[in-house]
Amino acid sequence: GESVGLHLPTLSVQEGDNSIINCAYSNSASDYFIWYKQESGKGPQFIIDIRSNMDKRQGQRVTVLLNKTVKHLSLQIAATQPGDSAVYFCAATTTDSWGKFQFGAGTQVVVTP
């Protein structure tokens, strides 16, 4: 089965610095990946996704990198802001699934002034 996990449960970053959040997945058949942001008391919010035919995808201040060789996914946040403080989840699914994602437990990002 799918196993998705995060390397660090908590990441403390200074405002203005770049943040990198990592995620490892176990199923080599995984081909669609999503990063979510969850603020306290709210549901997960979609940030960015990437398909397995890509190695990198950029959004506004965020970049997702996919390394299929080592089954690793990362989210980079540029110029981290206080509003970026939240829990970040990665999620993965496979081609033949109906969208049954496996979610990591999350990384708490704390932005300090």
Partner: protein, 115 residues
């Protein structure tokens, strides 16, 4: 509304009571999911609806849990004879098709507390 709507946002009830949680997905989304999130844990899949197909109930933890989706839109998750271990945040998500190629959009959840 523009997003997934869940109600109530908070529910406190006594052990042994039944509860109903409601989810109103994004208009036009044919796929609907229920998850459970316990403190510090990842999302636990409960049930999945896709169009008129039979739902995938493989994640329901016991027969006290059930869900239905009426008219392909609103869904209700029912927990009978609630137990303290049912305390969690229950999240609903919807997505457009194809469901494995589109992100799931989540509501803000129902925080369920069993006394």
């Amino acid at each position: 509304g523009a997003g997934v709507s869940q109600s109530p946002s908070n529910k406190v009830t006594e052990k042994g009571k039944d509860v109903e949680l409601r989810c109103d997905p994004i208009s036009g989304h044919t796929a609907l999911y229920w998850y459970r999130q316990s403190l510090g844990q990842g999302l636990e899949f409960l049930i999945y609806f896709q169009g008129n197909s039979a739902p995938d109930k493989s994640g329901l933890p016991s027969d006290r849990f059930s869900a239905e989706r009426t008219g392909g839109s609103v869904s209700t998750l029912t927990i009978q004879r609630t137990q303290q271990e049912d305390s969690a945040v229950y999240l609903c998500a919807s997505s457009s098709t194809p469901p494995g190629r589109q992100p799931q959009h989540f509501g803000d959840g129902t925080r369920l507390s069993i006394l």
